[in-house]
Symmetry: C2
Subunit: 167 residues, 2 copies
């Protein structure tokens, strides 16, 4: 089995208003007013062609302030410990973050987005288009999240100061 | 700006029936019969708790057979060159793949999945739960993909030998 490390390099940086991890929204859907700028390093700008036809995009990034790895974690939305792969928590073996944000517009090598739920200065690794045909799957079972009612989720998300400021 | 390389390590390996890149389905939705096994290295098994409540999961992996980087690429589904970030092509600056697969069942540290559209032996980087609340976004605009009719997409996907065998 191949266990060799794999080297990735940032292709840009994500600018947001979130400076402290505990004031950062937990998911884009709870960060509706949080604007961000995704700045690609100029040498990658050509790869952004045609992206502005998509209303939503995936950002793949490095949780650069994540520290220790925990295989069991209490998610922000729950009081019970869960396996880390059943959560979006940053303390994963590979600190890779994934967010779906709304693409408002592009100006040269900068994407202006809404729903930015990551820390300011986050290193960007990749961008992919969100495509309804592939990515919007109706009727999924959603594990422990199915047992949370929407009000509880919103209340907990609302405890976040940055989100409060934004909504 | 931080341009330092970021080291990730495989947390497991994805076993599929796809040995050649040109015989591999282009997306899970066109690989409905393609079963796969996601084998986590044993030391990460504890992190899989609670995952089997989710019907669908994201696999984040390394396109380990991707070679040169191209910022413009002709997608499998189209005849026009597009910016690589507006496609899912492997020839991206960071060769990170993302697929949503159906989780059939878990046995110890192995996940049995359907819709496996990656090459056999693919190094696994991360697993995240697919959650309707966060991830299924209705009414998106889907760029150049909106101009493809479903029949064209299916015909092109059908040119793939592995998919023909599977469907």
């Amino acid at each position: 089995m191949n266990r060799s490390p794999i080297d990735f390099r940032p292709i840009g940086v994500i600018h947001t208003g979130h400076v402290h991890p505990d004031e950062t929204p937990i998911q884009p859907v709870y960060a509706p007013g949080c604007l961000g700028k995704v700045e690609l390093f100029p040498e990658y700008g050509e790869g952004l062609s045609d992206l502005d036809g998509f209303s939503h995009i995936y950002l793949v990034y490095h949780f650069h302030q994540a520290n220790a790895v925990h295989l069991k974690v209490k998610p922000f939305l729950d009081d019970v410990e869960r396996g880390v792969f059943a959560t979006r928590a940053p303390c994963r073996p590979n600190a890779i973050g994934l967010s779906i944000v709304e693409l408002l517009f592009r100006k040269d090598n900068v994407l202006h987005v809404s729903g930015a739920d990551m820390l300011d200065g986050t290193p960007l690794l990749d961008i992919k288009p969100y495509t309804a045909r592939f990515d919007c799957i109706p009727g999924t079972r959603n594990g422990w999240q199915d047992h949370l009612d929407e009000q509880t989720v919103r209340d907990r998300a609302g405890n976040n100061k940055a989100l409060k400021g934004a909504s």
